[in-house]
Symmetry: C2
Subunit: 243 residues, 2 copies
Amino acid sequence: MTYCVGLLVDRGLVFMSDTRTNAGIDNISVVSKMKTWEVPGERFLCLLSAGNLATTQSTVSLLEERLLAPAERQPAILTQPSMFQTAKLVGETIKEVISYTTPAGQSADALFSGTFILGGQIKGGRPRLFLIYPEGNFIEAGPDNPFFQIGEHKYGRPIIIRTYDPQMSLEDCAKLLLVSFDSTIRSNLSVGAPIDMQFYETDTMVAGYKRRFELSDEYYQQISGGWSDALKDAFDCLPPFQR
Amino acid sequence: MTYCVGLLVDRGLVFMSDTRTNAGIDNISVVSKMKTWEVPGERFLCLLSAGNLATTQSTVSLLEERLLAPAERQPAILTQPSMFQTAKLVGETIKEVISYTTPAGQSADALFSGTFILGGQIKGGRPRLFLIYPEGNFIEAGPDNPFFQIGEHKYGRPIIIRTYDPQMSLEDCAKLLLVSFDSTIRSNLSVGAPIDMQFYETDTMVAGYKRRFELSDEYYQQISGGWSDALKDAFDCLPPFQR
């Protein structure tokens, strides 16, 4: 499994992804599920992936190769006029990759399926965040659904729902997502550290602050340990149940 | 779907279950998933169910009918010598019911599957809590795994993992489980109020306090609203992230 989140706030975008991949429970590796592209001053893109690793890596490679060989006149991820067109390109590419490996055509249920979160900004537009399905279609984040999760999303969802505020700083988003990731990692073996994080600040058109958190990271330890205590305190503050 | 929890603490057992059942998203009903039996002073049993409603209701009915017709010399849920034997009987019964509807024999993947949580105490023994699988086998709660969840368990799991303490009062267990249920109800349409709750106090051999919470219940409202605020406060108490 996997756990990735893309979060849209007024000040920009925050992306976080785990790095565990497994083929069976006894075959575990560390692979980054976050890929970024930028043309400083013009555009910044971040792509998070969940699903079959061969499929998602092929998709990213195709998006990259097209970037490297513009002469072939194929669509290139860095040459699209808008975030919408970029999402469309990612969708077409994942659909194409799945159709290679699934003789009867692409399908969400396919063994070699994959799902993406794409976020970023292209000059002239606003920061946008998309969830891209294996069928190639996609939905966009907005005020009512300001974040997307892919992979093992359930454990870490309630804390985001209850704490998200569009006016949060990117630092607070980082804190929130680390709590969400810690809750997931504690509950599910298929999600594991290190955790990759990427900031994007609105209208900068350049990759923002980036960091990888190991489990031993001092701040991660503070969050992980501190959250249990903070939750217990919060729990104690609730009115007691009386028969 | 469904959400049910059975929690074992030093002072006894607390059971909680939602009441939503659905055949498709446009066909929703309220059905209790909690069944209790008692012979005051001798035994108390509580059974929570998740899965196909026809299967789980048939299982409960068979356990009941056998109770009503002891002359037929079939096993009766109230005549077993121990909690272990009672769990075994429930397991045999669910297995039998599934085999009616699944020609090729029972299976966890069967369309008409079901899973149970059984807890209680029989005089001479200690309070025990079991998770019973559709295959008829079962596992028991202990110090390392002091609670069982069935149905839509992921959203509400992290709060139980972080807050559970074997020395909690039953009232605190009620508060904890209401938080867990509220997180689940907010995230998943297939889990819905009212919420049934049953206490069992160690060595009483009699049904304890019982309550049904509607969404409009004053205490439930306090928990649901208060938890969002308490979480935000807890979140603010965590050290800020610094680049």
